[in-house]
């Protein structure tokens, strides 16, 4: 009876505490008797919710990169930075390692997350065949790297607080792109959480 999914054996794993329960005969939602969590064999509407969040993230990714993320005023001189502009400024100041770090966290990771999650949704929906372990690795990488995109937002919050010198000598103002970018990070994190990785395996064993 092993080498089979719990669902195929009529069992549902509680996603909170891991306790196994027999599958409900009727369609009513039930709660786990150990922890009280809601029981469902697969996350309900996993693909639809993930896709909706992905589309919103793609839309917000555009203003996040077009609008200024921060404005730096120093001795009467005002510089307006976009995300990419901030990276170029770092390169010009001979801070290439930091520039690479910010590039990876702010440009590469969000883009790869959007494309990777889109590929995962398509993979399950269109029942693409292929190496399941490889798709699983993509999924785990997306879940792991998601939080690191907050780097730019945290950095700006520190700059805004500390660079606030009296008499207009120097100050930093966060721009509208910060809101859009923060929304992209949060929405893609929720999208990755909404995606049920067990669908990858269901897809594989169903054929």
């Amino acid at each position: 009876m092993l080498r089979q999914s719990a669902l195929a054996q009529g069992l549902v794993r509680c996603h909170v505490c891991g306790h196994l329960h027999p599958l409900a005969k009727n369609r009513h939602a039930r709660h786990c008797k150990v922890c009280g969590g809601l029981l469902h064999a697969r996350r309900p509407h996993s693909l639809q919710i993930t896709l909706a969040l992905l589309i919103s993230s793609y839309a917000l990714y555009i203003p996040a990169n077009i609008f200024p993320i921060m404005t730096v005023t120093q001795l009467g001189m005002t510089e307006i930075h976009t995300i990419i502009g901030g990276i170029f400024a770092l390169v010009e100041k001979d801070m290439a390692p930091i520039a690479v770090l910010v590039f990876v966290a702010s440009i590469l990771v969000p883009l790869l997350k959007l494309l990777g999650l889109s590929a995962l949704v398509l993979h399950v929906h269109l029942r693409w065949q292929g190496n399941t372990r490889w798709w699983m690795r993509i999924y785990r990488l997306i879940v792991f790297v998601g939080r690191w995109s907050m780097l730019d937002i945290f950095m700006i919050s520190i700059l805004v607080a500390v660079v606030d010198l009296s008499g207009g000598v120097s100050h930093v103002i966060a721009g509208p792109a910060a809101t859009a970018f923060a929304a992209v990070v949060v929405l893609t994190m929720i999208a990755a959480k909404s995606f049920d990785p067990r669908l990858i395996w269901d897809n594989h064993t169903a054929l």
Binding site: R3, C17, L20, M136, F154, I158, V160, V162, R198
Partner: protein, 205 residues
């Protein structure tokens, strides 16, 4: 029917492994780390959560970094980051920074303390399961280590034009981050759920 478990990431039906301390069980199909038995998990979580709660005070209120530029100087705390974003009208970003760097790490430490203190003294509580459920859900929204990287990048950027000095709050922040990371790895969720179920049975018996 013998007790069975299932892998959370591929739903493979499995016989639960009886682990001794230090051993780990991995899903044979997808490679998911199912369980790693920790030594004295409850006692460690209890001690680390108390340390985390104490360190949260200096980490939140003492200055993290300060700058000096053309005779002017300014210092910034963890709180000031979220507050000044709020002051500039970016309340959505401010709330997010507040949650990820202050509120959720603190709430997680508090939940870990409440759960481990009840388990250690064998005291049942009607909310034990809720607390652990919340802790599991909130874990990934605490982003202290990302915030530290943000501080480092900000310091490098600032060092180009201004004099940057590190505050005592930064040392407390790094200590809090290490304690929280150790707390997360010490928490044996399988053991915690077992003990909560045991306490629940004892209460009803």
């Amino acid at each position: 029917m013998p007790p069975l478990t299932a892998c959370p990431e591929c739903d493979l039906l499995l016989k639960p492994a009886d682990l001794i301390t230090g051993e780990k069980a991995v899903c044979p199909r997808c490679g998911y780390l199912l369980h790693r038995a920790r030594e004295q998990s409850i006692e460690r979580v209890l001690a680390l959560s108390i340390a985390g709660l104490i360190l949260a005070i200096p980490a939140n209120f003492l200055p993290l970094i300060g700058i000096r530029f053309m005779g002017n100087s300014n210092e910034s705390t963890l709180w000031a980051g979220a507050v000044s974003l709020f002051g500039q009208g970016l309340w959505l970003v401010a709330v997010l920074v507040f949650l990820a760097s202050i509120f959720i790490p603190l709430l997680n430490t508090l939940l870990a303390f409440l759960i481990s203190v009840h388990l250690h003294f064998n005291r049942p509580h009607p909310h034990l399961a809720h607390w652990l459920r919340w802790l599991q859900h909130l874990e990934e929204w605490a982003m202290l280590e990302v915030y530290l990287l943000g501080i480092i990048v900000a310091c490098v950027k600032l060092s180009d034009t201004a004099d940057v000095h590190l505050g005592f709050g930064l040392y407390a922040f790094v200590a809090m981050l290490l304690v929280n990371a150790m707390l997360t790895t010490s928490l044996d969720e399988v053991l915690f759920w077992q003990r909560i179920a045991e306490l629940d049975r004892k209460k009803h018996a």
